[in-house]
């Protein structure tokens, strides 16, 4: 009953004794004996004595609550732990220093089949939430404990839930789009069915976003659904549907484009062209996603219709008569519509992944207007060709050096690394021009071939720059390469 006494004392103390001076409450047991010993004469002191006794009594007597463990322990690991050196380099990156090197490093650690120590798992999971690219590798490197703990964490849960159906039914639109992509990657038909099930109830913005997820695992099996979407009331839904159908060479939409182009564009076996601009745009063509007014500078409406139609057809089809892409391009350049045709083919080559056409088109990159187009074209090329194409584009200064790391996001070859270093040296020497983009340097440093460190160091010797900021930037880049090279070697070390 002593807790009872403490409450009584607390009540009196809260209101104050001037509101009536009650007698000390009764206590029991050992506390009663102690309270009986209170000898203070003033009433306040008596109550304070009682408070001291009752509080201390309650404090000392408090027992811990009982209960069963809340979660089942985590399953055993299958991957071996990384070594002490690797762990140290990871701590450095997790603390924010050379963080840019972490995605590449964790992919290497994953490839080596290792996992990180338990205490580094929370840091790595937080990072995986921010960096989707390295998320899968990071999750594997976190081992079973990573999975186990992520499911208990309000934010990390999303990393695991992408596989559960919660994200699809309860997630926000981005979670749902990610879920759909993941589902499509495993089972395209199941992904399509899931989208069809909810389609009627979705808003047009959601429809547009979710349609984009169908890019993953896209096939002719999706055609019926996409054709129906072409009749949607909203343009924002029709457009992505038309775009997806344009990616399917065997789709009815592409076939309709072929029919439209038949009277407008012919190519003979030597590559000679006969070009006529369309004169009018009918409802059916607009349904197939052709924009009626040109949005491209230097291209009239009618030329833009031609361009959009050409952009849908796999460019290889123009070679059917036997002409090579280079020959076709050569005669196209002689026509009035060279720009429209080149742009159309460039888009088409990117969409249909035609490396032969991409290579031919990039021979003369002077006429590119949009960077998106070039980026998609480059993605069709295997990495070595992509690197040499970038070097060439770099010479034309159509592609900024600092975007190289976006185009070739990892593991540059040595020669590409050295070319980049040479160009970078030139850029850093013209300090005024480089200042705005200096913060992109670490991204480049994360892609460069770390094994080429010595050679890069000779090209970018910090003492060779007059402006201290340029010297510092070069220095920092070299430090990053050194760190990456050491951190990479540490993966191979025995634990």
């Amino acid at each position: 009953m002593s807790v009872h006494m403490r409450e009584q004392v607390a009540k009196a103390a809260l209101l104050g004794l001037e509101r009536g001076r009650p007698e000390l409450p009764a206590a029991s047991g050992a506390l009663a004996a102690a309270v009986a010993g209170i000898s203070s004469s003033e009433v306040e002191a008596r109550w304070l004595d009682a408070a001291a006794l009752a509080c201390m009594h309650a404090h000392a007597g408090r027992l811990p609550p009982t209960g069963k463990p809340l979660a089942a322990p985590c399953p055993a690991e299958t991957r071996p732990l990384c070594g002490r050196g690797a762990r140290n380099y990871l701590s450095t990156m997790l603390s924010g220093r050379f963080e840019v090197a972490l995605p590449g490093w964790i992919v290497d650690l994953d490839a080596a089949g290792l996992r990180v120590p338990e205490v580094q798992v929370p840091g790595l999971l937080s990072l995986a939430c921010k960096n989707r690219k390295a998320a899968a590798a990071a999750r594997r490197c976190c081992g079973e404990v990573g999975r186990w703990i992520a499911l208990q964490h309000p934010e990390w849960r999303a990393l695991e839930a992408a596989e559960g159906d919660d994200a699809w039914t309860d997630g926000n639109i981005n979670d749902r789009a990610e879920w759909l992509k993941a589902r499509r990657a495993r089972d395209p038909a199941a992904g399509l069915r899931a989208l069809q099930d909810v389609w009627a109830g979705e808003g047009s913005r959601e429809k547009a976003t979710l349609l984009n997820s169908l890019k993953v695992g896209l096939s002719i099996a999706d055609e019926e659904f996409l054709e129906a979407a072409l009749d949607d009331k909203r343009k924002e839904v029709r457009q992505p549907a038309a775009k997806l159908l344009g990616m399917l060479a065997e789709s009815r939409l592409v076939q309709r484009m072929r029919e439209r182009l038949k009277p407008l564009l012919q190519v003979d076996k030597r590559g000679k062209l006969a070009v006529t601009l369309p004169t009018a745009l009918d409802k059916a063509a607009e349904r197939d996603g052709i924009e009626s007014s040109s949005r491209i500078k230097g291209l009239g409406d009618k030329a833009s219709w031609l361009m959009q139609m050409v952009a849908c057809i796999p460019p290889a089809e123009w070679c059917a008569a036997g002409a090579a892409p280079a020959a076709i391009l050569k005669s196209a350049d002689k026509t009035e519509w060279a720009y429209a045709l080149r742009l159309g083919w460039s888009i088409a080559a990117g969409i249909h992944g035609d490396a032969r056409w991409v290579t031919a088109l990039l021979e003369k990159p002077a006429s590119f207007s949009g960077f998106d187009v070039v980026g998609k074209m480059l993605q069709c090329l295997p990495q070595p060709e992509r690197e040499s194409a970038l070097v060439k584009l770099g010479e034309f200064e159509h592609i900024n050096l600092y975007t190289w790391s976006e185009q070739v996001p990892a593991a540059w070859s040595e020669s590409f690394t050295l070319t980049a270093a040479k160009l970078l040296h030139a850029e850093l020497t013209k300090w005024d021009r480089v200042r705005w983009s200096i913060n992109r340097l670490p991204r480049m440093g994360a892609c460069m071939n770390a094994a080429a460190l010595e050679k890069v160091a000779r090209l970018l010797d910090p003492t060779g720059f007059n402006v201290p900021e340029a010297a510092a930037a070069a220095h920092e880049l070299l430090e990053l390469l050194r760190f990456r090279s050491e951190a990479h070697d540490a993966i191979k070390e025995k634990p």
């Binding site: 103390a13 408070a51 509080c55």
Partner: protein, 433 residues
């Protein structure tokens, strides 16, 4: 012992120095570097003409840098140490240059000197006069505090609470003037209790504890000597160093179990908990740093060192100071065997009966399983009892480390919540604070 990046990072005095140290930790910024088994050194190019000279004595560890920074260790020292921790094998070995050798020898000499008893000339009469004057001031201050406590009881906690923080701040300031800083601190903490969820309980507890100190001081002659010392310490008398060192020393191999840091206004209070391997005795090494003053970095959690500790006199002695210690420390791979939650709270109750003002009680839990219950962390032990963790505790690192299974856990228990400081499992020791 070998140092890991995590251990070195824990030595940083603040996040700023930690970050700056990181940035400087690249060999290119260091025109010269070198190490032996016992020391590191290096020159770091700063903004000035001459590079900064950095020296680190690994046994200690101790730092010295020629830069003007008042942070300790400074960013240069952190950077040098980090490079060593990251890749010790890549660190150039060599003979220490004169500027390093001199410092190391100076340190050795000073350590020798410190071990010798000091012969101080003290003006006994003046000292006694000062002590008597303080005694009078404290007595007067406590008499005023007593009246004020009675006033609080008369008017009620509700009425006092409505006066806000200022009421407690003023009371605390008056106690500082009365040279009773210990009581002032207890009163000051009540200002924070006013905002707590269970404020009336916390406030009554606090007032009761202060009253207990006041009453104990009134009757101090009737108390046994150990408890007298506790009461005087609680009110704010410092036990002089010489007096502590006169206590019988306890010689043992001391395990550094954990360390916590608390900011009190401009003062940082570092508590380092030690445990004697042979005696099983717990000891608390307190370190205060005002403003920019450096913290003590020589006691590293997860290590052991042998030495002689002298305990401050008291009924339940915890606070202690080294009379003599070895500079060399070794790794502590695992925390010693702990107790169940029930046993730990039982020991806490026993400690309270000897020292009712105990604030942080060292708790070593065996087979502790951490868990998160809707954002509230708890630690369960084999007796199916659990202790709630402090609201400020971020438990994810501990949870990952435990894998949902039992770990040995060390922390501070304040009677309500546990502040975990370190844990060990699978032969690995981790710091949690």
């Amino acid at each position: 012992m070998s140092w890991s990046v995590e251990q070195v990072m824990a030595l940083a005095p603040d996040a700023q120095v930690a970050g700056d140290g990181r940035k400087l930790a690249s060999p290119g910024k260091w025109p010269s570097r070198g190490c032996t088994d016992a020391a590191l050194w290096g020159e770091c190019q700063g903004s000035g003409k001459n590079p900064y000279q950095v020296r680190i004595d690994l046994q200690g560890p101790a730092f010295k840098c020629s830069c003007p920074s008042r942070k300790f260790p400074c960013k240069h020292s952190m950077a040098l140490f980090l490079m060593y921790a990251e890749a010790g094998d890549k660190f150039p070995k060599g003979e220490p240059p004169p500027w390093v050798e001199e410092w190391l020898q100076g340190r050795a000499k000073r350590a020798e000197k410190a071990a010798q008893p000091k012969a101080e000339v003290v003006d006994k009469a003046a000292q006694e006069k000062r002590a008597a004057r303080r005694e009078d001031r404290v007595t007067a201050g406590i008499a005023r505090l007593k009246l004020q406590l009675a006033d609080i009881m008369r008017r009620g906690l509700n009425a006092i609470r409505s006066e806000g923080y200022g009421y407690w701040d003023r009371t605390a300031a008056a106690l500082v003037d009365a040279q009773a800083p210990g009581l002032a601190r207890m009163v000051h903490e009540l200002a924070g209790a006013v905002a707590a969820e269970n404020w009336h309980e916390r406030l009554l507890d606090g007032v009761a504890r202060i009253h207990l100190a006041v009453r104990a001081f009134e009757n101090i002659e009737t108390l046994p000597p150990g408890m007298q010392a506790d009461v005087r310490a609680q009110i704010g008398w410092n036990t002089p160093r010489e007096e502590v060192l006169q206590q019988p020393p306890v010689s043992d191999i001391w395990q550094v179990l954990g360390q916590s840091l608390k900011h009190e206004d401009k003062l940082r209070v570092q508590r380092t908990w030690l445990r004697g391997e042979k005696t099983g005795r717990m000891a608390l090494s307190l370190h205060f740093a005002a403003g920019q003053q450096p913290l003590d970095v020589s006691l590293v959690p997860g290590t052991v060192l042998s030495g002689e500790l002298c305990f401050y006199p008291g009924a339940y002695p915890l606070r202690a100071m080294f009379r003599q210690r070895d500079t060399e420390s070794a790794e502590l791979p695992a925390l010693p065997t702990g107790r169940t939650a029930t046993q730990a709270t039982g020991e806490y109750a026993a400690a309270l009966s000897a020292l009712p003002w105990i604030e942080q009680f060292p708790v070593l839990l065996a087979d502790a399983i951490p868990a998160c219950d809707n954002g509230a962390w708890r630690v369960q032990t084999a007796d199916e009892c659990w202790l709630p963790a402090a609201a400020s505790f971020d438990g994810w690192k501990l949870l990952a480390f435990s894998r949902g299974g039992p770990v040995t856990l060390f922390g501070e228990w304040d009677g309500r919540a546990l502040a975990p400081l370190s844990a060990s499992a699978r032969g690995e020791f981790v710091r949690l604070a």
